[in-house]
Amino acid sequence: MIRRAPIGAYLFTSCFAVAILLLTGSDVLAHGVAQADRSFIEQATGTHLLPFMYLGAKHMVTGYDHLLFLVGVIFFLYRVRDVAGYVTLFAIGHSVTLLYGVLSGTHVNSYLVDAIIGFSVIYKALDNLGAFKQWFGVQPDARAAVLFFGFFHGLGLATKLQDLTLSQDGLVPNILAFNVGVEIGQILALSAILVAMNAWRSTLAFQRQAYAANVALMVAGFVLLGYQLTGYVWARGQTS
């Protein structure tokens, strides 16, 4: 069945992208840690499980780039079991690189990591539209993609955490607590997204709007990509 993309789709797309921009304009930070939280993290020595857990959850719930990707991932997932499966894969990917990155001191350019995260949003939107099957004749394994991009989402946070001066005292339990918080935050955020998605999917207009929504996701992904790549070039200009 072939449908034409309705013109309204592009209008909706623009509105959605503007909403994303408004979100980014507030003190919601992609992968960043809110300014007020920075001093706490830098000053904390010893084990502080609950505060770090809270910060992890807060990061996830307010990290719009993670949320965009997750919206893309669960867009066409209806069964709770499928959702749980994909989310577990994402959590594994995220945890592995977050822990490995911080503990090994691996430092990757955060603009580039965030650009890849922006790309992951575009990828997932195209995947939802069936673009890869249409263009290349193959449907890439969605599970592998979620795990793969999960690695980068974790790497992004690990890099941001290392920009702060973390105390070695109690580092491992604190990072583990932070990671637990990230997963709790992910569950909370996903519950909210799922409720909204289910309400939306039960409407007759969903199939028509699904196309527009994924194009909107793509716009948001392209904005993130351009924003971070420009930041990469710009930051090089600042230091030279």
Binding site: L126, L129, A131, Q134, A210, V223, G226, G231
Partner: protein, 205 residues
């Protein structure tokens, strides 16, 4: 229902390009001016987004520096000496009129030793300027191109106050004429500075 509807290859390519075009437009018009003060179409200046970016970039550059730089504390200034500064001579006083062309930017600074005061009062005639007060050290061991921003006043037509130099260096204003018409800044200063003037080639002239 569970399978996404199939779209034609052409439709998908067109949609992707439209998405990229919308994103590019948003980036150029809003995001880049607001985030990096990159403003090719001057939309950021029009919407007031570029100032936001400039303020934030300056604030981020300050990160990690306390209002009192560590080098000052380590110089071991006597506690009494920081409050009382006896001098053999009377302080300097000046009144200057600084002409600025439309959209022109310049820096005007005073050379002050650590702890020395500057009293100032400036008013703009004929328009408004963006102003920022900062200083850069002229002696001592500092990172290359180090400067410290003390106050970003943003758009305004006057500024009055006092300043005590946290380190020996040239401290003063960056001004940018925000209009297309020429303006005159009338600056009055008093204090124990040893030089006062416009910055050219990184030094007070």
């Amino acid at each position: 229902m569970k399978e996404p509807i199939r779209y034609t290859s052409r439709q998908l390519i067109v949609s992707t390009m439209i998405a990229a075009a919308i994103a590019a437009a948003l980036l150029v018009v809003v995001v880049l001016p607001a985030e990096y003060a990159i403003d090719p179409l001057r939309t950021g200046a029009m919407l007031g987004l570029t100032d936001m970016a400039n303020d934030r970039i300056a604030a981020e550059a300050l990160e990690g520096f306390d209002s009192q730089p560590p080098a000052v504390a380590s110089q071991g200034v006597q506690p009494g000496a920081q409050i009382m500064h006896a001098h053999d001579e009377k302080f300097q006083t000046a009144r200057v009129e600084i002409q600025m062309q439309g959209r022109e930017e310049l820096e005007y600074k005073a050379l002050l030793a650590v702890g020395e005061p500057l009293l100032y009062s400036w008013t703009v005639q004929g328009g408004a300027v963006h102003s920022e007060f900062h200083g850069e050290p002229t002696e001592g061991d500092w990172p290359r191109d180090f400067y410290q921003s003390y106050e970003i006043a943003g758009q305004g037509t006057a500024g009055h106050g006092s300043f005590a130099a946290p380190f020996t260096g040239q401290h003063g204003w960056y001004w940018r004429n925000l209009g297309d018409e020429p303006v005159t800044i009338v600056l009055e200063t008093s204090g124990y500075y040893t030089k006062l003037g416009r910055i050219r080639g990184g030094r007070i002239q």
